[in-house]
């Protein structure tokens, strides 16, 4: 199996689906000839033709609106929003339209649309190239929200998302594109090739939506994470010596409650961590679910480690980012009593 970084794995997923299904189209700002500002669509236009993979005007609502219409025709569009920070102009088309069309038409129409978009910080992108808006989608009934944390999952989940008959928001942790970043920004960048999950099968395979993975088994406490924070949490566990069970949610909506409950019932303690701002982040939902389902197993309050409630501050990226130090502190607090 070839070693791929996350960009290559995502590219391979798109390539596979473009080859497999003539109804799959890929479009977005700069995704055509250029291949996307993060190169995820590199070479696809050349290989599959200009009508299969092309550039769009800079109008996110137009991109999603057109994609919804294409869905009604029977296509399976896969669109890129250049940064998750720029998804808001399309929010109405996503929330009021893509998410609700199956329900409001009683199944007469549906929207098998995949919206890929890079999210998260760690690249000194400032407040409009760093956001993590997942909770703004998990609240919206009718869309699924998926976040991979490694190349193998990235390809398998993206293929599942494209094949899924409901709209999927597919958030790509941009800091993981080129390597399994664990939050130690002061250390040299590691390539994916040294990571076992960079072994990516060629051709078609899927990783099912709605299923979490135990990224690190452990006994002391359960850490619920996704995307970049999976690697940060593993690092925090190794470094603190706390035997955390790190669960990589992979799909946020619908979340894999079974895996979560099983782990928390075992450990009796839980920490939730995400890069998005704390208040009303997806961590809040996880806290609510865990305390509800596992109340009598919990030995300590569930803690949240998250981005501070502020715009991502450019120069203070590493003070904002919930790195391994803060996650380890969170673990210790959860272990306190």
């Amino acid at each position: 199996m070839p070693a791929m970084n996350m960009i290559q794995a995502l590219n391979s997923a798109l390539d596979t689906m473009l080859a497999a299904d003539p109804n799959v189209l890929v479009f977005g700002e700069d995704v055509g000839y250029f291949g996307g500002v993060f190169r995820v669509t590199d070479g696809l236009q050349k290989k599959h033709g200009v009508t299969r993979c092309f550039d769009t005007p800079i109008g996110e609502a137009g991109i999603i609106g057109a994609a919804i219409g294409m869905s009604a025709y029977g296509l399976r569009p896969v669109v890129e929003i250049q940064f998750a920070d720029y998804i808001y102009p399309a929010y109405d088309q996503i929330v009021s339209e893509a998410a609700r069309i199956r329900y409001r038409s009683a199944g007469d129409f549906h929207v098998p649309l995949t919206i890929r978009t890079p999210y998260g910080g760690g690249i000194f992108g400032g407040q409009t190239h760093s956001q993590s808006p997942e909770a703004l989608f998990t609240h919206v009934a009718g869309v699924k929200t998926v976040i991979p944390s490694n190349p193998r999952d990235a390809k398998g989940l993206l293929i599942s998302a494209i094949e899924d008959d409901d709209p999927v928001i597919f958030l790509e942790p941009k800091r993981l594109y080129n390597g399994p970043f664990d939050g130690h920004h002061e250390r040299p960048i590691q390539p994916w090739s040294k990571h076992p999950l960079s072994e990516v099968p060629e051709g078609h395979y899927t990783v099912p939506l709605g299923k979490a993975a135990v990224a690190r088994p452990g006994e002391a406490l359960t850490v619920l994470v996704y995307g970049t924070m999976v690697h940060v949490a593993i690092a925090a566990a190794e470094e603190s010596g706390i035997d955390a069970e790190v669960i990589d949610l992979r799909t946020l909506m619908p979340v894999d409650i079974e895996t979560i409950v099983k782990s928390v019932e075992k450990t009796g303690r839980c920490l939730v961590a995400h890069e998005a701002t704390l208040t009303s982040g997806f961590g809040a939902e996880l806290c609510a679910l865990v305390q509800e389902h596992c109340f009598y197993h919990l030995e300590a309050p569930i803690r949240r480690v998250a981005g501070w409630d502020m715009p991502y501050p450019h120069a203070f990226e590493w003070d904002y980012f919930p790195g391994p130090g803060r996650v380890a502190d969170g673990m210790r607090r959860v272990m306190e009593k």
């Binding site: 769009t56 609502a61 137009g62 029977g74 009683a106 009718g142």
Partner: protein, 408 residues
């Protein structure tokens, strides 16, 4: 150098308000037949003046004049007349049902029937419509079962939408009628996307979408025109300028400074301005645009200039913001009356036939209503058991859990 005069804020206001006498003397109504009909492959820029004129086919005596004559046989015209009359009869009946508390909400299209019916007739049956909430005429023209329309409004056991939507928010893939959204304007870029999909597939179906003049201010209007222009989408983008957006006159949407058809110009698209109460003119414009679209020449924006004869919806009372009898004064009349006069004038219709048809349609609507009411109404909410379905294709655990909690 600098002009130190004070600036002032301009707030557009309609000329008449309640209590004033209706006055449309500033509406320019050019004679019918004067506007040239360009070839379908005309360059958009060369035909820009069409956005400022007014395509009219029926003259004051309801005779056909000029190059936009769509050359329809009497049978086709009678079909159009019937669909418009049926739409009006249906509207009247459902409006009354709402007033009687039988349904929660209703929206009439009175006076604007041609804007839906004539376009439906000009399109092929498998072309796709992305309507706003005032295009019930499309379904009627295409022969969608009226019983299903009513059952949707009654949210009863036969409601195709299973009680999930406000009355009038129909959906029918089979009849080429996209699920109506409550959010204004969203259907416009969707129609463009659908049309692009058809082009991508190398098919020959085209799309049409309708938007109110008020809703042209939404971003989606701009997105639709931009995407339509860039990729040359085979789509008809129709603006129904009925001059009112709830209580706001068209000046609030930009109508003081220019026409809505002129919005096409900035996208390099043809913009046609059409007498929306002239069935033949609407048909002809739609036909021209459809031919153009099918010839791979891209999208056309069509402004149908009409007047919203009734309140915005059953939640509205237009006498609070405009002279209550304004419609009577609308210089371009009533589309049904005008088509009727034309047919009578050419000897293809009589007053008697007209009255008979009126009665037949009223009876049909009454009868259908009885049927619908026999099936049930909102109060019974009889498809409640499906309430948790169709959020997703497969029901995820959390909805199964909620369904259980709800006791289903």
């Amino acid at each position: 150098m600098r002009n130190r005069g004070k600036l002032s804020l301009h707030i557009p206001e309609p000329k008449q308000r309640p209590g004033d006498r209706p006055d449309f003397s500033d509406v320019v109504v050019p004679d019918a037949g004067l506007v040239e009909r360009p070839r379908i492959d005309a360059k958009a820029r060369d035909i820009a003046p069409l956005a400022y004129s007014l395509i009219r086919v029926l003259d004051n005596e309801a005779r056909i004049v000029g190059p936009w004559d769509p050359k329809l046989d009497a049978e086709t015209l009678r079909k159009g007349l019937r669909a418009m009359m049926l739409t009006r009869a249906y509207d009247d009946r459902m409006y009354r049902a709402q007033r009687q508390g039988k349904i929660s909400f209703y929206v009439k299209s009175t006076g604007e029937e041609a804007t839906s019916v004539a376009v439906a007739q000009a399109l092929e049956r498998d072309d796709m419509c992305f309507p706003s909430y005032r295009q019930q005429g499309l379904l009627i023209a295409r022969g969608y079962p009226m019983l299903d329309m009513m059952c949707q409004c009654y949210s009863n056991a036969r409601d195709p939408l299973k009680g999930r939507q406000l009355p009038i928010m129909y959906s029918s893939r089979e009849y080429g009628f996209f699920t109506i959204s409550g959010n204004l304007g969203t259907q416009y870029p969707q129609a463009v996307g659908w049309a692009l999909a058809s082009a991508y597939k190398g098919d020959d179906r085209i799309a049409a979408s309708w938007i109110g003049e008020g809703a042209t201010a939404e971003g989606d209007f701009h997105h639709a025109l931009t995407f339509a222009s860039v990729y040359r989408a085979p789509v008809l983008l129709i603006v129904v300028n009925n001059q009112w957006a709830i209580s706001s006159f068209q000046g609030i949407a930009g109508g003081e400074e220019t026409t809505f058809a002129a919005k096409a110009i900035g996208y390099g698209l043809p913009g046609l301005r059409v007498d929306g109460n002239d069935y033949l003119a609407v048909y002809a414009a739609a036909q021209w645009a459809a031919e153009r679209a099918r010839a791979n020449l891209g999208a056309t924006l069509i402004e149908l200039y009409t007047y919203r004869a009734e309140g915005h919806s059953t939640s509205d009372d237009p006498s609070r913001y405009r002279p209550s009898d304004e419609w009577k004064a609308w210089p371009m009349g009533d589309p049904i009356e005008r088509l009727k006069r034309h047919l009578i004038g050419v000897g293809a219709w009589t007053e008697k036939q007209h009255d008979a048809l009126g009665e037949e349609l009223a009876a049909l609507v009454r009868e259908t209503q009885r049927e619908a009411e026999a099936i049930g109404s909102l109060a019974e909410g009889s498809q409640k058991q499906t309430m948790f379905e169709d959020v997703y294709k497969e029901m995820p655990w959390h909805l199964r859990r909620q369904m259980k909690e709800a006791g289903r």
